[in-house]
Point group: C2
């Protein structure tokens, strides 16, 4: 995935196999926890270490390449993208990205200009509906 290499180059992080694998995993799953990432990458890359996942998630967060999503269960991570809201399924726990409506954003900006906003909606996801 050439795009990830560039992303890392631009952030002065070396494009190691491990980092690319983590980003691929997040791209594939959308949202994943530290040990979901670890267990999955270990299949194709048995020598990878948990500590490497922790260290890389930390540096990728610092560079704002990945973001943390809180769901009151196991913390998950996603590749940072356009602002969006999260739908957290009250049945299966899945996280879905949903639109962060511009009307809502504007309403908040009135009182808190240039603020980062996190909106989570707890309801049924598209599979459980």
């Amino acid at each position: 995935m050439q795009a990830f290499k560039e992303l890392l180059d631009n952030s002065s992080l070396k494009a190691t196999h491990q980092r690319i694998a983590i980003l691929n995993e997040l791209a594939k799953k959308g949202h994943a926890s530290i040990d979901e990432i670890y267990e999955s990458i270990k299949q194709s890359f048995p020598s990878i270490s948990l500590a490497t996942i922790y260290k890389n998630i930390a540096s990728l967060k610092e560079k704002n390449i990945v973001s943390e999503v809180c769901n009151h269960q196991k913390t998950k991570f996603e590749i940072t993208k356009e602002p969006h809201a999260h739908l957290i399924c009250t049945k299966c726990g899945a996280i879905e990205d949903i639109e962060f409506k511009n009307s809502i954003n504007k309403e908040i900006e009135k009182d808190y200009p240039n603020s980062k906003k996190e909106l989570s909606i707890y309801s049924l996801c598209s599979k459980c509906i």
Copy 2:
């Protein structure tokens, strides 16, 4: 605090000193982490154990008497109250309760009726502004 005793009675949780102390602490601070609660209660109640705080926060959450607030740092808790949003200070880390505007609520309800919603705004709190 008589009100807390009733709250506990109604949830079939015994109104122990420890539970009342935890609820008082949360009422006083607004938002506190497990060990902030522990350190503070220990002053006036030296025999209290960390495990008791954990167990009680778990049962109080289960009964929806307290809620968890995620701030991407140390998880904090608050006494469950009217729906509201959180302002999380990007300078000092403080959490403030702010209004969850009805217009925003309505906008979300159109698409996700009867959903629980969490909105966090990262900006400067009233003290750091």
